[in-house]
Structures are given as C-alpha cells and as structure tokens.
C-alpha cells in the first residue's frame, strides 16, 4: 500500500518492449483479460490478476479509472489458500492413527504415508479461506518506467511474470548498476564495468 495514501515503499523498474499504436485500447483489452478472478466460492488454490488501486473488489474499474494522465495505475491482487505446516502435520498424524486402529496394523507403509499426506493437504487447502494480498503499481507510459509499491521479492517476481503475460513487456529492476548504465556516457560505462569495491578507511 502507500501509493494512494500514507507512507510508501517502492522500487523502480524499466519497461522494455514495444507497445502498439492504439496504446489505450490495447491496455484496456489486456487489463480485462488479466483482471483478478475471485476464488472465494471455488476450491482453486490461488488466483492472480489486476484490480483497481482504490478498491480490491473493483475488477472492471467502474468506480475509478486506471488511467491518470500518462500513467496507468493498477493493483496486483493475489489470493492464496494456505495451511500451516503444523496443522497439516497434526491432521496427517490423526489420520494415520485412525487407519492403524481401523486396519489393526502396527505401522503404516511409506507409500501409504505419502498418499495420506497428499490427501489431507488437499482437503485442508480446500477448506482454507483465500488470503488476499494487494500491491500497487504506477506505470509511466511517457518514459517507460514503473514504480512498484512493495519491496517484497516474491511479489516483485510475480509482478514481472503477470506483466509479461498481460502486456508482452519485460520489467527490469533498476538496481544501482543498471541505473548507472543509463546515467553515464559510453566511455564511462566501460570504466564502470571495470571498477572493484574500494576501502573507505
């Protein structure tokens, strides 16, 4: 959060690739195709897609447009059903005990143990409620840069994949060395490639 209100944390990406001439039609079409789909009433394990930055339930941007001047403002929403390892362990052990009693066997085979774990895990995930996470972004169409309002690396990697899938464009994180290549002249970039860490004492 933080893009629309309050304090914010963000990183910068360069957007690489060509957009078609009818930019806004293309973007509208791609956002609709990759809009977030709710999984509350299904058994799907997770869902990833675009929502409005002002309302995570607004997937068709009825209440606020994603366009602001030459910027596209979007939020990436990821809902995931998760079960903690200790809960899985507890229910697997419980099931193993039940089977041992029912079949009157002292030990459960390795293959049966794997089968039980898989079955219990699936059952628990279906019962779990999807946990939502929302991450805002602001795409500057004029200079092909993008601010992503999270420093979480897993979220950044999901963004790179979803952005590529949605718009066919590649995001390149602007770490200091890559920024430097854009800020320096050709000769200086060659010299930059050769520098090694200096000692400041």
């Amino acid at each position: 959060m933080g893009f629309v209100k309050g304090t914010a944390s963000y990183v910068r990406f360069a957007v690489e690739g060509e957009l078609p001439d009818n930019i806004w039609d293309f973007i509208a079409d791609r956002i609709t195709s990759f809009a977030f789909r709710d999984i509350d009433e299904t058994y799907e394990e997770d869902s990833l897609g675009w929502v409005s930055v002002t309302n995570m339930f607004d997937t068709d941007f009825k209440y606020a447009s994603y366009a602001a001047g030459n910027f596209v403002t979007l939020a990436m929403r990821f809902d995931e059903r998760k079960v903690s390892a200790s809960i899985v362990k507890k229910f697997v052990q419980k099931e193993e005990e039940r089977i041992k009693k029912e079949k009157q066997i002292p030990k459960i085979s390795r293959s049966m143990r794997v089968e039980i774990k898989e079955r219990i895990q699936n059952e628990l995930i279906r019962k779990a409620l999807p946990m939502p996470s929302v991450f805002d972004l602001c795409w500057n169409l004029e200079n092909s840069t993008l601010l992503f309002f999270s420093t979480n690396q897993k979220a950044q990697s999901m963004l790179e994949d979803l952005f590529k899938e949605s718009f066919g464009l590649t995001l390149v994180q602007q770490i200091p060395y890559i920024c430097a290549e854009h800020l320096l002249g050709e000769d200086e970039v060659d010299r930059l490639a050769r520098i090694t860490p200096d000692v400041f004492v």
């Binding site: 914010a8 602001a68 920024c179």
Partner: protein
C-alpha cells in the same frame, strides 16, 4: 551477466554511493549542490544499517539515534563496514521528503511525501481523485529524480581519475571518527 549475478557482484556500488553521500552532505553542513538544480538539503538521521562481509559471513550493525549520536555508525565505517540503509531527510524547492534508502537494490522505503495543499480534496470526485493521484506520482518521481541526480555526481567521480582525491577526503572523514 544476469540480474541475480549483477545484484550480487555490484552490490557495493549502491553502498559506496550511500556512504559517499553521507560524507558529501556533512562536508557542507547538510547541503549538496546539484548541477542545474541548486542546493539540495540532505541530512542523514535517526536510523542506519551497516553491513560487513557476504553470504554466511555477513554481519550487520543497526544504529539508531539522533544525528549527533551516529558516532557508532561512523565507528562501523572505521571497522570496514559499508552503509546499506539510512534514513534521510531531503529538501528541495519547498518540498521535504523523509525516506529510508536501501542501497544495494536502491529501494525507497517508508517514504513520507512533502505536505501539500491538495490533501483535503473530495476523494469521491473522479477529477479531484485523479488530481491527487497525479500529485503523489509527481512527488514520488521527483524524489527519484533528485536521488538519481546525486547518484550521477557520484558516478562521474567514481569512474574518473579524480576519484582517488575524493576517496582520500572520505577516508580522512571516516578516520576522524576514530580519533573523535
């Protein structure tokens, strides 16, 4: 080189920049001249994180306190640690930002934007909402522009023969901390 290797191998570049910026800001009492823009106030305050070593042998040191109490962080530099994160106040053109810079990846964390008059608008009005969003975007990008301007000064020096002299001055400043 792919991004993962670049991040690991060139991690020092952002950290050297942040350390240099600390020295640069103290050289003129919290002001750095940005060519074509004028003076920018850059003050390091309250919170710093220093790093030493890589991978498993990585050590970090967190220093908190007011500006005058950052002596411990200076001592960290004497021990060969590098500045990885710092809370900075940056002021330019009547605007003042407070933010934490994470140097290795150039992340802007907990950015507090300058106060402007546009915050009391009606959020339900689409035009006013768009105006507010555009203003925030401008302020986020302006901070980046300033930081990249400062980074450019550092880079020009870092790849030039003048870096030797600059480095001597930074070393003298670091070593003064030891004697203080």
């Amino acid at each position: 080189m792919d991004l993962v290797d670049l991040i690991a191998e060139k991690r020092f570049l952002g950290q050297e920049f942040l350390t240099w910026l600390w020295w640069k800001s103290e050289e003129r009492g919290g002001v750095v001249a940005l060519p074509g823009e004028g003076d920018v106030v850059v003050v390091f305050e309250k919170h710093m994180l220093l790093e030493y070593g890589e991978g498993d042998s990585n050590e970090s040191l967190v220093c908190r306190g007011l500006q005058t109490e950052l002596q411990e962080a200076r001592t960290g530099l004497v021990m060969g640690k590098k500045l990885e994160q710092a809370r900075i106040k940056l002021a330019f053109n009547d605007y003042e930002w407070n933010f934490t810079m994470a140097a290795a990846l150039m992340e802007f964390r907990n950015v507090k934007l300058p106060k402007t008059g546009g915050e009391s608008g009606n959020e339900n009005d689409p035009e006013e909402r768009e105006g507010m969003v555009l203003e925030r975007i401008y302020l986020f990008e302006e901070l980046i522009r300033m930081v990249l301007g400062l980074f450019r000064i550092f880079l020009h020096l870092r790849v030039s023969p003048e870096w030797r002299d600059e480095l001597l001055k930074v070393r003298e400043w670091v070593n003064r901390a030891e004697r203080a």
